[in-house]
Amino acid sequence: MKARTFAAFVAPSVVLMLIFIALPLISVFVQSFYSTQQVFQQISVESCTPGFTTQTCTTELRSRQVMDAAGKPMTTTSFVGLESYRQLLKPEEVSKAFAAGGGGLSALMTIDFYKALRFTLSFTLITLPLVVGLGLLIALAVNNLTKSIRGPLIFISLLPFIVTPVIGALSIRWLFIGDGILTAALRWMTGSSIAMFAQGWTIEVLMMVYRVWHVAPFAFVVFYAGLQTVDQDTLESAIVDGASRMERLRHVIIPHLMPLIVFISLIHLMDSYRVFEEVIGFSSEAHRISLQWLTFSYLMPDETGNRSISRASASSMLTMVGIVLLLIPLLMRTWRDNRVSR
């Protein structure tokens, strides 16, 4: 294909990505060093109360919003350097927490950013093996079933994957809320009543359960497709050589699926690092928050209608640094593959 035709084909998409992805990224980077605030001015107000012979007068300084000609509050934007990052990372409180008698880790976890980081990372790393493992198990099991029930089973399995994430999280929550059916079942099984939404760790467990339920079908379908291409000759010769079922799984099937396992893991890393819908669905913001939710909460207008854009920008930039670190292995691999294939 000629360079000019290539350019013509790619142009609309590239322009869209430049304007709506690359440009916002740059603007977020710049915004994170600036802060926009409403302008206040100090005015002295003299208030007098009538008194005997003389009035009692007091002058006090009050700050008042400055309005522009259109009657809107005036704002100034000023360069603040790393101030927004400092407000987010709170280095003084961190050093205080780790100083003698500062409370250590538990004190660190009272700072929003570290709380979100801790949750996002443990959420990502704990769900990863569960998703891969469960997906693989279902795929192996379904592969051993008769053909006629595989179709309906795939249909059923796709439901958790396709459902709107917020709605999926909500429907799990509704099973537990109040005296919900599963809360009742748990009480019947354990004999003690656990309020699932009263403390942080139960919510965290539920969020992970939801995520595994939501993503395992994806892993299942991919692994199932991979299982159809396992070399039957190799399997047969493994049997002739006396390999047991477990050995065949370990030495023939898993190596064959390895590229798919890597693929699923990387997609899952990317997606679960963005964990957000669970926080909304389970209303867990009082107990557990994620990095993306932190940015979201800065962007939502507060009671006075202000959005803390600069702090949101700073937390966006930090979130991005994290995803780039996670992505480096994936990028290296794509790089290698593309070099080889050419």
Partner: protein, 403 residues
Amino acid sequence: MADTKALQPPLAMKLLIGGFVALWALVAMFPLFWVAIMSFKLPVDALSSNPLNVILGPSTRANVGGLSIISLALGIAVLVAIYQVPIRHGQSFASRLAPQGRMIIGWLVFVVLYLALAGVLLFMLLPLVSSLINAILIKVPLLGLLAEPIIGVTLEHYRAVWIQHEFYRNFLNSMMITFGVVTVSLTVGTLAAYGLARTKSNLAFWLLIAALVFRALPHSVLVTGYIPVFINSREWLAPLWTFPLTGWFFQLFSANAPSLYGQPLAIIIVLVSINQPFTIWMMRSFFMNIPNELDEAARVDGCTQFGAFWRVIMPVMWPGVITTGLFSFLLAYNDYLVTALLLDAQSQTMVPAISQYLNRDTRLSDQIEAIAAAVSITAPLFLLVMVFQKQIVSGLTAGAVKG
């Protein structure tokens, strides 16, 4: 090969596998299924801790009424028929409706007509007929038992959500945004993916790498970049409206510069761009499967590159287009973050709108109304999986097989 004795698992293991699969099927279906049942009951039944009460809904039956065995049987029969007819006869109906071999138009007309017909059948004819039969049978001594209502059902919450709280507005917004996102992102994405699949230049490689990085970006990062522009857009766009050369043109559309905040059309472009990296990667893997010789043959016969793309490649690309379209649909339909931040209450889509029910949460029935809204959101997705199961599976595996 499959029937080789040695590969067949022993009986105990077969049972284990069967049990495991059954358990998974239950886990996969249960939450959605249960929530759907809850949405048809009065709060007393829906929030009861006794599962039988939730399923049978005794107080719903006492207060509102319910379905008899006959109505249930009739309903299931009609549902099965509605599902089976297009599978058996859809092809011949569609080809009869198609003008001069344009099968796609035929299918579209058929689907629209069929959905309308099914709606009339389910919501108007079925209740009428079943209540008629029930009314007659209830007088007969023994058969009357079949006509007794046994399962309490109420549509009260759906009525409250859709009519009283005007959920249809959110539905229309959702549909508009989803439709826009799917069409625009397919058009732009197909062109780009074809270009990328048919070139070996360094630039193409770097574009793909950049797209991969963009795909991994949390959406909140991008929205942080949009928000100031969206909120201040009226002031930023105003010069275009006041500048004499361009002003007359823009004033044709609106007297003043519009604010992008709360504009569904602006959201479409935003979601298309966010979705673009994913679309390109998926489409490209489909294009890679189409042999290059096909376009070369067309080029030899005198087609331009675009002609080859449009006349030769696109006709064999429809499965890939449909699959990618499905995933764009899902992204736009399921989005919470972007729409919650960039749309206002009047132009809100369905998914963020549900939070208003959660936040109200003062009466018990608010809970169930939220559930009814959630079920309303899930129902179209359910239909989608039913119709397009094959395409979704092929889309999930397309990226994986190619890496």
